[in-house]
């Protein structure tokens, strides 16, 4: 299981996607917590990349939980009509890890 805290910027987003998938592959991680508490905006582009990362990780056999999405970011995602429907979320890192453990069956 790995947890990452990131600062998402446009030019780092794609890089982040590649790095994360590489790391999942290397470590054989079954679960990933991505902490977004330092990300102050998510536009439709970054949301797309995040959604893709979750799907791609899933293909590699790792479940992703997003944590620490800020209130303002959540409001704007809903304003934009972006649902991130099939992505799990948790309040913080600790709860994210708990959720992963639960989802992965203990």
């Amino acid at each position: 299981m790995i947890s990452i805290q990131i600062e998402l910027d446009d030019h780092t987003a794609i890089q982040f996607q590649e790095d994360l998938l590489e790391k999942i592959h290397e470590t054989g991680a079954k679960g990933v917590v991505i902490d977004l508490s330092t990300v102050d905006i998510i536009d439709s582009y970054i949301a797309k990349i995040l959604g893709d990362v979750v799907k791609m990780s899933d293909l590699l056999g790792a479940k992703v939980v997003l944590t620490g999405i800020r209130p303002a970011v959540a409001i704007i995602l809903t304003d934009l009509g972006i649902r991130l429907n099939n992505i799990s979320t948790a309040l913080d890192l600790e709860k994210g890890l708990a959720k992963l453990k639960q989802d992965l069956g203990g």
Partner: protein, 135 residues
């Protein structure tokens, strides 16, 4: 409308998107927008700047405080000389995309801001004006 200071950021590459965004954040903060509205403005600028970068390659984002009938607001103008938009109704639909994105860009900007006007001519370019009023 009374114009105050205006700031423009040319959009030529991805770094400029970040710069336009930071400027929007700074100006909206100085004007006294709440932090959620600051984020709305910043996100709208991000979407508009990215559209310029993706579809027109170059263009310009202008950010200016405005006053209209005693109401204060922030006006964002996005200008490019790109290919233009063939069917505006279509791009304003949720989920419509030609770039593989989420198709939430322009309709999203409309929802984030209070006023949204789009004006586009094929082969000539696109002008978008979006305003957020200070509450």
């Amino acid at each position: 409308m009374i114009m105050e200071t205006r700031s423009s950021v040319p959009i030529n590459n991805e770094w400029d998107i970040v710069q336009a965004r930071q400027l929007g954040r700074q100006i909206s903060r100085e004007m006294g927008f709440g932090h959620v509205d600051q984020a709305r403005i910043t996100t709208a600028i991000s979407e508009l700047a990215r559209n310029i970068y993706l579809y027109a390659n170059n263009g310009e984002i202008t950010i200016e405080p405005i006053v209209n009938l005693g109401k204060k607001g922030l006006k964002i103008t996005s200008r490019d000389k790109g290919p233009g938009i063939k069917d505006i109704r279509l791009v304003m639909q949720d989920g419509y995309t030609t770039s593989g994105g989420l198709g939430a860009g322009l309709p999203g900007v409309k929802r984030l801001m209070d006023i949204f006007k789009i004006d586009s001519t094929l082969e000539k370019g696109t002008n978008i004006v979006a305003i957020k009023w200070l509450r």
